[in-house]
Symmetry: C2
């Protein structure tokens, strides 16, 4: 049976070497990777962990786990307006299973190749199935889009429709009441967005100079909007009727629709734009062919309300 070191050589090294990067001086296989900086750029660094039974079911195909692990990390870079540079992976495995590892690597490779982000190192240990990915990206000096820049009067935008991952989970659990009204295309879309979310990399970078604050919706619409409000020391009026929702949500009761948009695990960008830049945003939307929807406005009042002025209690995914 192959040992830990031959697993690294056979499966993980190729995922570093397949992608040429002038910033990688030394990749996988030493005590540390060696990397060069990029003059005029800052490094954006983030990490996310996926735990079996919490972030994915234990029988999820390893290709899907690999795709999602890299997708959620790339999405954190997109949410800063950064472009990917490299990633590393700490993998905890209950048993050695080379077919499973090959599947995981194949899943990682899709987005790694698409965004030309090489694997530079990691750690393989024995224990309950867990993946921790660390990612780094480049953003021009001073141009990163943080959570703290929202100003009263800024319009709040969501990129894409919310609720698809929620529908995906209902379908996976066979708990959607009326599946007859859902088309095959919709079923595929819901599964895709739950298991293989696409990070909005191009949009994230393009919003530099336009958005005043941004994050990706991982905790759910209201909880993530609250992160922006707290960091920016502002409030917001959310137009509930304007929230772009996945078509299958219409069959759910209003309360469940609200649950769906606050379910999280979406990886859509949520951002704020001053009114005077809305025309530039519309040009961008046309150029990228993406769907951007205004869902509210930043206010001075430090509270989150709906369009009728009623206070909204933020809800979303909590780990504890």
């Amino acid at each position: 049976m192959a040992d830990e070191f031959s697993i690294i050589d056979d499966y993980f090294k190729p995922l570093g070497e397949a992608i040429a990067s002038p910033n990688v001086v030394l990749g996988i296989g030493d005590d540390a990777a060696l990397l060069t900086g990029r003059p005029g750029y800052q490094l954006a660094v983030s990490c996310d962990t996926l735990v079996a039974g919490v972030h994915f079911l234990a029988d999820t195909p390893p290709e899907d786990i690999g795709h999602k692990a890299l997708a959620v990390n790339l999405s954190d870079l997109a949410a800063m307006g950064a472009q990917p540079a490299w990633f590393s992976i700490c993998l905890t495995l209950p048993e050695q299973n080379e077919r499973w590892i090959q599947g995981l690597v194949n899943g990682l490779a899709v987005l790694a190749k698409q965004y030309q982000v090489p694997l530079i190192g990691g750690d393989t240990t024995h224990g309950p199935l867990t993946l921790s990915l660390q990612i780094a990206g480049w953003v021009p000096n001073g141009e990163a889009i943080t959570r703290s820049g929202a100003q009263p009067g800024d319009q709040i935008f969501v990129a894409g429709e919310l609720g698809w991952p929620y529908i995906g989970l209902l379908l996976l659990n066979n708990t959607l009441a009326d599946t007859a009204t859902i088309s095959k295309t919709q079923t595929r879309m819901a599964r895709q967005q739950l298991l293989r979310p696409e990070p909005q990399m191009e949009l994230g970078s393009a919003l530099r100079g336009l958005a005043t604050s941004m994050l990706d919706i991982s905790d759910g619409l209201s909880a993530d909007l609250m992160h922006i409000l707290k960091a920016s020391k502002v409030g917001a009026r959310l137009n509930l009727a304007a929230i772009p929702k996945a078509a299958p949500l219409t069959q759910l009761a209003p309360q469940q629709q609200w649950d769906a948009v606050n379910f999280g695990d979406e990886y859509k960008l949520l951002f704020t734009v001053p009114k005077e830049r809305i025309a530039a945003l519309q040009s961008l939307q046309q150029r990228l062919g993406c769907s951007l929807t205004a869902v509210g406005e930043i206010t001075e009042s430090r509270v989150l309300t709906d369009e009728h002025g009623s206070t909204i209690k933020a809800k979303g995914y909590r780990h504890f």
Copy 2:
């Protein structure tokens, strides 16, 4: 009960803010941290995972777990000749326990303050107790000490005595036959080296320009030496009699002594130095007051032998 976000604010943010660093533009609390490069330096990046029941017993005090998690990561930087820049932590916890988290943070803080390495971010998730740390350090362009530079004729050195963590584990498990011959100081030393290893940061940086190859002994003497031999495409003659051993090892049978030096979990530096630089190495040893022992010589033959020419089969810790 405090939620995930207040845990980050209350316990982890202070560990970033307590340590001033000109390279940290934005620390904990956004989608990614923002960091600036250092002209003339490369970034050395590494990560290590500690899993409960594998790398530490579940009832280990959280202060010890925190200390060791940062120590083993710092040690990877030392082994490249790098100086610490920042670290992040992905923490998976079975339940929210603020006293445990405070203990962990206190353990991390000791080395973080000692080496002025700020925490810049991370992820807190629910699941089996696991810590993944990622660390970055600075090394002057082209001066990193990798595993691949050993040349035939180079002398092989170990920094410190091997076997203390092994004795520590025997003591912890009450499986050391003769505890009467072990002094209180030795007992403390064995526990200390198992639970709170000290990374050899100063020595690692000082060996730039002297050592041709280096790593830290985490897998055990022979397994780690094999990593250097493989990467450098050379062999070695190890002088078994010269290996610096912890005093309590003398009560063990020769085979168990060999097991002890190959047990790993040591975090002592193992490095190679050309003969013409030995005088400079001796000056360094005097200046730092550290204990460096020559344990063999690099050879052309691509095999590892003992001083009598018998082939040594490398053994050490394996995860699978």
